[in-house]
């Protein structure tokens, strides 16, 4: 399958030459993303051509970070209202200025041709790539058409018509916050462009995109087990050995999973590890037979799951228990599987303690945790994130889970974690993070925007109806005030899934190797990766 499919969903798949349009003027998306996901295998070289193009195009258009601020599908000028026409005019004026600033000729048509020639595609004229991301065949045609057609509006119209098949996805992607377009959002899996996929992977992708499997541990284990099944049932073609072919076979599956829900950081680490294992199998001398290679891979996967996820959780519980004493009041946020195990084990040990569960919209994950803790007989209470300061007045320790631990000691976790950590550290309450070592990643992030996941904005819409005087004139007073947010031209709803907690708010991290300060995360990552290097 085309390797460019592996890029962010914003890239037009199947159109390698124009793959650069993924760069929305933001260098972050293409090259950094590709580096992160592809690791250091050959595909990176092949990608380099397109990333070079995208970089070039980024440099051209990068004077404005929102070079692609456009309504997703431009209607013809006749059907637009006056206001919309005015908006379109403003936009075109802006774009012209940008083109001039970037050194391109003033005329839109000439600029487009110039850009197309450099192979960087053009985000300026192809409308929102989101609307054309669905079907590769359609989009190749539409973009191809727009390269040749002189009028950007007409081209956009054609693109809009051609991508009718993808409008359902387009609609849900419409009205994205313009300066966050580099972030990934989850989409329904689209099987049309992908052939020969193992049904287990398709099922998994569906589960992911419907949020039926949530939580980093659960997703990782599910993914690894599915891949194990794929490996088990894979029969290489006659002209290749298993060891050499298995990586090529798995790549489209990985790409497919990526296209549905953006992978968690921990999943990417797992995939990186898996690729390393596969590369090691190829290196084996004398070469392994197919059966041997297959069994070895499956054993390794099972070993990884057992050692670095399951056993790690048990060790974390053991290590964390030494820090919880009688009479403590523990606050936790959201639902982390490890924290849940720790609290249940503490209860089992007979320690007398209380738990405060803090929760937040829209997922309300804390409710599941609360149910389980209450069932175990633990004294719990429940707060929303807005009252976390009040809840903290009696708390002795805060224990939370993490999605990933970054190189600079920051914690990448569910939105709201950093607020709880900040509030706790303000009150001099120690904050403990429970994290397995496989979640330690070799990247650094100082803010939460450079890399994140956007959830479904419609999840935030269900606010309670307001019956005050402002809304007396509301046409539908029983509905949410935000229901028609898509029709409002200046309103965007943002539903970020993760945030970054700086290391200064975190007192300690409980891992299976012991209690460590969060600034020692890179040492652990280095030790584990060296060790695996030696073992491989």
């Amino acid at each position: 399958m085309d390797p460019s499919n592996k890029a962010t969903p914003l890239t037009i798949p199947g159109a390698k030459g124009i793959a650069g349009s993924s760069g929305m003027g933001q260098p972050m998306s293409s090259s950094y993303e590709n580096q992160w996901m592809l690791g250091d295998d050959k595909k990176h070289e092949r990608r380099k051509s397109s990333t070079v193009d995208s970089n070039k195009e980024n440099k051209d258009a990068s004077s404005q970070p929102n070079a692609s601020v456009q309504p997703p599908a431009r209607k013809s000028q006749k059907s637009m209202t006056k206001a919309e026409r005015r908006a379109l005019q403003e936009q075109q004026k802006l774009e012209k200025e940008r083109r001039v600033a970037a050194g391109l000729p003033k005329n839109a048509k000439k600029a487009a041709e110039l850009l197309a020639k450099t192979g960087g595609g053009s985000s300026v004229k192809s409308g929102s790539p989101l609307s054309v991301a669905g079907t590769p065949d359609n989009t190749t045609a539409s973009v191809g058409k727009s390269v040749t057609s002189p009028d950007p509006a007409a081209a956009a119209k054609k693109a809009a018509k051609k991508s009718a098949g993808a409008t359902s996805t387009a609609k849900s992607q419409k009205n994205q916050v313009p300066w966050l377009l580099h972030l990934d959002a989850s989409k329904r899996p689209d099987t049309m462009g992908f052939k020969d996929l193992h049904p287990a992977v398709k099922t998994l992708a569906l589960y992911f995109s419907e949020y039926k499997i949530v939580g980093s541990n659960a997703r990782c284990v599910a993914m690894l087990q599915t891949f194990s099944k794929v490996i088990e049932e894979h029969k290489p073609p006659a002209d290749a050995t298993f060891s050499r072919h298995i990586q090529k076979h798995l790549d489209p599956h990985i790409a497919y999973l990526l296209a549905t829900r953006p992978m968690s950081l921990s999943m990417r680490e797992c995939i990186r590890w898996l690729k390393k294992e596969m590369a090691d199998i190829v290196e084996e001398d004398p070469p392994l037979s197919d059966e041997d290679a297959r069994h070895r891979l499956m054993n390794r996967i099972e070993h990884f799951i057992r050692e670095r996820i399951t056993m790690a959780d048990q060790l974390i519980v053991q290590n964390g228990l030494q820090k919880i004493n009688d009479g403590e009041v523990i606050l936790t946020f959201g639902k982390s599987s490890v924290v849940e195990s720790l609290l249940l084990a503490t209860k089992k040990k007979g320690i007398n303690f209380k738990v405060i569960v803090v929760d937040s919209r829209p997922l309300f994950e804390g409710k599941h945790l609360l149910r389980r803790l209450a069932a175990a007989g633990i004294d719990c209470s429940y707060h929303l994130l807005s009252s976390v300061y009040v809840a903290l007045s009696s708390v002795t320790k805060v224990i939370m889970g993490a999605h990933a631990l970054l190189n600079n000691g920051a914690v990448y976790s569910r939105t709201g974690t950093s607020m709880v950590a900040m509030a706790a550290s303000d009150k001099q309450i120690p904050v403990m993070i429970c994290c397995e070592t496989y979640k330690f990643v070799n990247r650094t992030q100082v803010d939460s925007f450079v890399m994140n996941e956007i959830g479904n904005p419609d999840d935030l819409v269900n606010t309670k109806p307001m019956f005050n005087s402002i809304h007396q004139n509301h046409p539908n007073p029983t509905g949410s005030a935000l229901e028609n947010w898509r029709e409002q031209p200046n309103l965007r709803i943002l539903n970020l899934m993760y945030d970054v907690t700086p290391s200064k708010f975190i007192t300690l991290v409980v891992t299976e190797v012991g209690l460590i300060p969060c600034t020692s995360a890179p040492v652990i990552w280095r030790e584990y990766n060296e060790e695996f290097g030696k073992r491989g």
Binding site: Q428, P517, T519
Partner: protein, 342 residues
């Protein structure tokens, strides 16, 4: 050698006798005592040896945790202050034995006696290195003292005395020292005497006057009973206060410690320490106050015995850790420990 009622080697008594030697620091004393124990051990097999060793180390740990204080003589105070340092020494010894026993398990060619012999010779090497460690730390520490510096030192610490005398005698630097009194055993006065003999101008200040003179001070030097996993130090009571004041006024705080004091403890706050004083923290009552006729000395004794001996200084208040391994940042301690243990 000292034998207890069962006729076995009494490691606790041995350890306490080593502690009596003023020059040896606690972890080294523990190490020496346990080495003696190994030498006297009559266990014929590896597993029995490990068992007796475990028992001995537990005995030493319990001895150091007992809080039976009838007099406030310096010896006893040192002994009780040393709970953390004992842990560090025990950690070091057990780690050393386990590493060697691992080698032993791998190579079947060695007999058990040979193993013991190797162990003892290696232990001797380690003890040599340990005695040099203080000098090395002093050397590294003294490079931070510049001419005309005004230094604040907390009470009496052997390492810090080493640093100051090295800077004054070997490096010929001129500086002045403020020494805090260090109640309740007022060891700071002894430090002042020693410094005067060495020709270093010094003054004793009350513990409560630290905030007053902090502005006149260029840097603060503190010793350590133990260095904990996140880079904080556990030291004599009062260190945390000094570090807080120094941080508030922007003065650097240098903790000087030998590397055998690194211990695998991770306190979250003052009360998370192994050597915690529950009565102070929880306001439980002490009947003794009302019983004895000689109220005054009892008051003093009670103050000394009910108050904590050590406190914990979190890493954010320490500028650098000067050890015999080199100059470390507080987060560097964890890196070293991880590389050792992982």
């Amino acid at each position: 050698m000292t034998l207890d009622t069962k006729g076995d080697f009494d490691v606790v008594a041995c350890y306490q006798s080593y502690l009596g030697n003023h020059d040896i620091s606690t972890p080294v004393a523990v190490f020496k005592a346990l080495t003696e124990f190994v030498r006297q051990s009559t266990a014929p097999t590896m597993s029995e040896f490990m068992q007796t060793l475990d028992k001995a180390s537990r005995a030493v740990r319990e001895a150091s945790e007992q809080v039976e204080l009838r007099s406030i003589d310096r010896q006893a105070f040192q002994h009780h202050k040393a709970a953390i340092a004992t842990l560090a020494g025990l950690d070091l010894f057990m780690r050393f034995v386990k590493r060697n026993s691992h080698d032993f398990a791998l190579s079947e060619a060695q007999s058990f006696d040979q193993f013991k012999h190797n162990l003892l010779s290696r232990a001797a090497l380690i003890l040599d290195k340990a005695s040099m460690a203080r000098f090395k730390a002093a050397e590294i520490g003294s490079q931070f003292i510049h001419d005309n510096a005004v230094i604040l030192v907390q009470a009496y610490s052997r390492v810090i005395m080493g640093v100051l005398s090295h800077a004054a005698n070997v490096q010929n630097k001129r500086f002045k020292v403020y020494v805090t009194e260090g109640r309740p055993n007022s060891e700071g006065l002894r430090a002042v005497e020693e410094l005067r003999e060495a020709g270093i101008p010094c003054r004793a200040v009350l513990d409560s006057a630290v905030g007053y003179i902090m502005d006149k001070v260029d840097m603060v030097f503190v010793g350590a009973e133990g260095v904990v996993e996140n880079g904080g130090v556990i030291n004599q009571i009062g260190t945390y206060q000094i570090a807080l004041v120094a941080k508030a006024l922007g003065k650097p705080v240098y903790a000087v410690a030998e590397s055998y004091k690194f211990v695998r403890v991770y306190p979250l706050n003052q009360y998370d320490l192994p050597a915690c004083m529950p009565e102070i923290v929880r306001f439980s009552s002490r009947n003794q106050l009302f019983h004895n006729a000689n109220a005054q000395t009892d008051e003093e004794i009670n103050l000394a015995s009910t108050n904590p001996f050590v406190d914990y200084t979190p890493p954010q208040y320490l500028t650098l850790l000067l050890t015999d391994l080199g100059v470390l940042t507080p987060s560097g301690v964890s890196d070293e420990l991880i590389k050792l243990y992982l």
